[in-house]
């Protein structure tokens, strides 16, 4: 039905579209595994994208922009931590509030600083992440199948994509093979037991929320500096929520998260490449293709993945018994 070159093209697009989702999904994973629901992924990504775009535009350095994005996202994560860990507030409400705050603040500050209606100035080379050509990509390109796979699909992405993929095994290792990971997961399941063992529940939860902040910062920076050339208002366009859906789909596991986010990226890429699909006499309209990721979410959540059980202590502030 489709030729190899098209397939490579779609997979290439899948990687680009899936990477911000992957970062955000892993971010949510750390937070929720520690028992802090985070509906504010969208807001953190937006704040990070804005600060990344603004700082990269001023300094002309993509890496400084990324650092600023991470910083902005960490501030939001800290607010979420204060509200839901220290003050034991409702985590969903805090998250929603942060989304609103990000949506308004980015435009307000952007207009105040740059006077471009909330947009940051378009970035020129240096301020954006350039595509990295992996070694031998050009030399290997003529080899059929494998050459194309290597030179077009694996090579030619920006640095953050490779960092994103590296985050998956790193997260899996951190969660399942280290003492910190064990404690983090335990805090999300049974914080009282962790507390009894003499470990600070608050400390672990703050660490988890901070990791979430860093990863959301990378997601936002990739949107503004890797995919687009600067920040535009509301540019996250709901990706934080898609990442949450992917997180449930992935049953709060790092490797599954990779699969889930890439599947969402793939569906979007297919929708972009084939706005309309003709199968025999039937023509599938473009609206259906665009809705496919959402339809799939509902179908999958309705039964295909089996039971997706969230961390048991998720959403509940920990109160030490007195």
């Amino acid at each position: 039905m489709i030729d190899f070159a098209t397939l490579i093209e779609i997979l290439d697009s899948t990687v680009r579209l899936g990477t911000p989702l992957l970062f955000a999904c892993l971010a949510g994973l750390f937070s929720e595994r520690a028992g802090i629901f985070d509906i504010g992924l969208e807001g953190k990504m937006l704040a990070a994208a804005f600060l990344a775009g603004a700082v990269a535009a001023v300094t002309g350095s993509a890496w400084l922009g990324t650092l600023a994005g991470i910083g902005g996202s960490l501030i939001f994560a800290a607010i979420h931590g204060f509200a839901s860990i220290t003050f034991r507030g409702n985590q969903l409400i805090s998250g929603v509030a942060l989304n609103f705050l990000a949506s308004g603040m980015t435009i307000l500050l952007g207009q105040y600083w740059f006077g471009l209606g909330g947009r940051t100035p378009a970035l020129i080379a240096g301020g954006r992440f350039e595509a990295i050509t992996l070694p031998f990509a050009d030399a290997l390109a003529p080899i059929p199948v494998i050459g194309r796979l290597y030179s077009d699909l694996l090579s030619g992405h920006s640095a953050l994509v490779y960092i994103g993929f590296a985050c998956v095994p790193a997260s899996a290792f951190l969660l399942y093979r280290t003492r910190f990971g064990l404690r983090l997961r335990a805090v999300g399941e049974n914080p009282a037991a962790v507390d009894t063992a003499g470990i600070s529940v608050t400390g672990i939860r703050y660490a988890a929320v901070a990791i979430c902040g860093v990863l959301c910062g990378l997601a936002g920076a990739y949107l503004a500096l890797g995919l687009a050339a600067g920040f535009g208002k509301e540019m996250t366009a709901g990706r934080g929520f898609i990442a949450l859906a992917a997180l449930i789909f992935a049953k709060w596991r790092p490797w599954y998260a990779l699969g889930a986010t890439m599947l969402f990226g793939f569906l979007e890429a297919v929708g972009n490449r084939f706005p309309k699909i003709e199968i025999g006499f039937i023509s599938v309209p473009s609206q259906f293709m665009q809705a496919l990721p959402y339809i799939l979410t509902v179908v999958i959540l309705a039964g295909f993945v089996g039971k997706a059980t969230p961390p048991r202590a998720g959403g509940e502030p920990y109160v030490k018994e007195r």
């Binding site: 006077g115 995919l227 687009a228």
Partner: protein
């Protein structure tokens, strides 16, 4: 009870003073935002031009969500502003509800028709302007494949796409037009990432000129086109300067003139429908220092000849809204 009376009297007094103050014109921006480098910004330019020339002042509001439409227009009318210019077809319902409640206030709606005695409706012949840039796209294309990327999938955007495709086919009947829409919700106007991805997908299919009619999303399209070494076409405002030498042209929609005229007429704005077409210079293509090397004199002559024929009625460009179908491209 007497407190209520006092309150009522006080509100009445405020309403009176508001009504007596010199009526400033007002402009209400739509969801794309005032500085979208496109549709809303064109309106802003028109208002600024009026303010500079007359030294007058005007009021403005910027909508942030769908839910605010009626509230904003009503609030603006209550301040005594006259006339009130409202942007976007999305406000047809709004004005049908609000306008009858303020019979002494004049409203101007851009991009939609409202049949009320105090509303001037301004529509643009986007299909005619798009036809011209379509011709330019076909003339500039070497691969015989050109692209169109729309914002939200609505009849107005299909009107752009259809006129564009007709223009392309008028020059090269065998050319391929790839059409994509960004989405079905308002978010489709502000998703430069998806715009860029769609542009990359069209480039991989061989497109070497892409027309973006997608608001803020279009900025991502123009960026991806410039990165990918192909040409793009901007929309509404002149966007040639965004990537000098890489934007072939822009389909101009003189929203600025419409706003300027309305402000100038003040509260004596005549109601009725005004059609801003090619003949009245309501739509056009942009030609300036940034793209003069991209458009050869022959190309310009061809397109200008077609423009004259459209203005005189010799060429009739198909309007998507007339029958909700497009014979030249499928969306």
């Amino acid at each position: 009870m007497s407190l209520m009376k006092h309150l009522a009297a006080a509100t009445g007094a405020i309403a009176l003073t508001a009504g007596m103050a010199a009526a400033d014109p007002a402009l209400i921006f739509d969801l794309g935002g005032k500085f979208d480098k496109s549709f809303n910004e064109a309106a802003y330019e028109g208002a600024q031009r009026w303010a500079k020339e007359t030294g007058g002042s005007y009021k403005e509001l910027e909508m942030q969500s769908e839910a605010q439409r009626e509230q904003f227009v009503r609030r603006m009318a209550e301040t005594g502003a006259n006339p009130i210019v409202v942007l976007s077809f999305s406000n047809i319902e709004t004005l049908n509800t609000v306008a009858p409640d303020f019979p002494d206030t004049k409203f101007v709606l851009i991009d939609g028709i409202v049949d009320q005695p105090n509303v001037r409706s301004i529509i643009f012949a986007e299909h005619e302007g798009s036809y011209l840039v379509g011709m330019l796209a076909a003339l500039a294309s070497k691969t015989n494949t050109v692209g169109f990327i729309g914002g939200m999938d609505i009849p107005l955007i299909r009107k752009f796409g259809c006129g564009y495709a007709e223009g392309v086919k008028a020059v090269k009947p065998d050319a391929t037009v790839i059409a994509n829409m960004t989405g079905n919700t308002g978010a489709a106007w502000n998703d430069p990432v998806k715009g860029g991805e769609l542009a990359k997908s069209q480039i991989s299919q061989g497109a070497d000129v892409i027309f973006a009619a997608a608001g803020g999303t279009g900025l991502g399209v123009l960026q991806a086109a410039a990165d990918g070494g192909i040409l793009s076409i901007g929309v509404d405002s002149n966007q040639n300067y965004l990537h000098p030498g890489k934007v072939l042209t822009s389909m101009l929609k003189r929203v600025d003139n419409a706003v300027y005229d309305a402000f100038k007429a003040g509260d004596k704005v005549e109601p009725g429908v005004i059609n801003m077409d090619l003949a009245s210079k309501g739509v056009d293509y942009a030609f300036d220092d940034n793209n003069k090397d991209l458009i050869t004199p022959e190309m310009k002559a061809t397109v200008d000849a077609a423009a004259a024929k459209i203005a005189s009625g010799e060429i009739k460009v198909h309007d998507y809204n007339s029958d909700n179908s497009c014979p030249f491209v499928s969306f």
